[in-house]
Symmetry: C2
Subunit: 342 residues, 2 copies
């Protein structure tokens, strides 16, 4: 255990990232100082937000990653050495860590948190169904959408990291679920997950008509991670007093200077809708219960999670590129191979 490996940014992507934008490097094993912990990385969460850190501009929450700098992501790891109060070897920790075999964290590390890992749960789940994605699904439906038995709930990206949990939870609490997906394979999976109806936006001649056909009585709750045209089509299909959980507007992410316009805002008044922005970190008090719900669901069997998983640090760059191509189903996650680099 004398060397570390890490994935660095080799070049900035133009548009969609390609594997050549990333490079695996050897590096000396880090030595921790007072107030730090040394963490063996276990699972790395691949998320679209990372794409923003690869551009050299000031439009993001975090500073851009430098050329040659170590890639980072929300990740799970296990403490191997600690000089930080409250952390001991063996503790599982989650936080914004580097894409590397061993990483160093301290009390200022973004989102650093000790995690009580259940022995029957795979470690990768803690950056997916038992992490932000699962909790976003549960808290969003419960607290923002106020979804209840009998409601018709529409879910964008219904087989995505958040969506596939939301579909199953909505079904579990007695909702009728309309899944929105792109393409026949995703439509098939959405039906397997329990969607009562599926709208494939890639094949629908009119999204508005396709939603109407899927939910002739209208939509009570729309879980929206997409915005743009899909949101517009949904606004014309909402029931009076319908709620829209606005947790992302991906339709505008690739060209933030030219966001897609919304034409049907008048429906907010006419149908007395509620559109509410939702970012999980503002609802920390509801996270423990949401986590417990997901653990229960996995154990009881009403919830299953889909992972798009690769094993081994060398695949991290390629996995991120797959995610950004829009072809992955469920949660994209890299699991570290513990036989490597030790």
């Amino acid at each position: 255990m004398s060397t570390n490996r890490k994935v660095v940014l080799a070049s900035r992507p133009e548009g969609a990232p390609v594997p050549a934008n990333f490079r695996l490097e050897r590096a000396p094993m880090p030595v921790i100082a007072e107030g730090e912990i040394l963490v063996r990385m276990r699972a790395i969460s691949m998320e679209p937000a990372i794409r923003g850190w690869l551009d050299d501009n000031d439009k993001n929450y975090f500073e851009p990653i430098a050329i040659g700098g170590t890639m980072r992501a929300l990740s799970m790891g296990q403490v191997v050495e600690s000089r930080l109060d409250g952390y001991a070897p063996g503790d599982f920790v989650r936080g914004l860590f580097g894409w590397e075999d061993y990483t160093v964290a301290n009390a200022d590390t973004v989102l650093l948190q000790k995690i009580d890992v259940s022995p029957d749960m795979p470690i990768t789940y803690y950056v997916g169904v038992l992490g932000g994605s699962g909790q976003t699904a549960i808290v969003g439906l419960d607290r923002i959408g106020r979804a209840k038995a009998g409601d018709t709930v529409a879910i964008s990206a219904a087989v995505g990291a958040v969506g596939h949990v939301a579909v199953q939870y909505a079904r579990h609490i007695g909702c009728r679920v309309v899944g929105v997906v792109g393409g026949p394979e995703k439509a098939r999976v959405a039906r397997e997950l329990g969607c009562d109806a599926v709208v494939d936006y890639k094949s629908a001649a009119s999204m508005e008509a396709a939603i109407r056909e899927a939910a002739p009585e209208g939509i009570d709750v729309y879980f929206d991670g997409v915005g743009g045209e899909m949101l517009d089509a949904m606004l014309n299909n909402m029931k009076t007093f319908g709620r829209v959980i606005c947790c992302g507007m991906i339709a505008g992410y690739n060209d933030s200077d030219n966001p897609p316009p919304l034409y049907n805002a008048w429906q907010i008044v006419a149908r007395e809708l509620e559109l509410k922005g939702f970012l999980l970190y503002s609802y920390a008090e509801f996270v423990p219960a949401a986590l417990a719900t997901c653990i229960d669901g996995l154990r009881d069997g009403w919830l299953r999670t889909i992972e798009h998983k690769r094993i081994g640090l060398a695949h991290a760059g390629a996995l991120f590129c797959e995610l950004m191509s829009g072809r992955t189903l469920g949660k994209a996650v890299l699991e570290m191979d513990l036989s490597e680099a030790d």
Copy 2:
């Protein structure tokens, strides 16, 4: 008291209505049947919604008014003869009545309600500050906007029927108020009403910049009856967790087939905003308290109401045309001249 007078639709307006679209006619005094009341009209509320009933299409809540048909509006009157249980001569009633000296109503008349008129309050107030406009202002700010002391509240059409009440109530409960108006005269009145800052959208080079200058710390609550460009500019000026009371989107009323697009919907997510459609009739349980608040305000002096008032049925058509020109301040109301037609 042997003849009645009424205002009928002489011709359908093209675009903005003109006085020649309306005609005052003599008619026989109505004779009521069992289950009906005869009502002496006292005050007629002029509202933009009436414009929709003048077009011969099916886009409205109510059927269009026929050529030669009696104009109608939310109005106050006094029962002079009753064959309807629960109604007695002398009772004040509000409902969707005809523009006429005497009108006939029954249990099915839209919005028919007995009104307890305070002797110190002018009858016209009951279709304005003590009617839907005042109650929309209070319930909207309290229940939808959850405005509280210390909040910065922006109000569109700040010297309009709803807006001028909202401005004064927001001040009364300790908010900082930014009024949005069109033109220097309205700006002057908005300041007189107590606005801490005024944005004149007709003279502002950039609405977004003008709002930022008026509220550098951002907006907590936006009372929006306008939609379109103004809402877009406001979205970029809202504080995190800001609330938008969506009670009208007039910007799109004149051309409902081509609504003005909204470009900044992404801010709903980024700023975790809440946009909520609001129509007063869905909040009936809060109306009595809102009415009491307005009566208290008028008596205590923290609230004064602006009426754009004409007296005499013959002026009804011209008054409606004034309202639709956008030049009126406060509540446009026709008061009946009781010396006429008796």
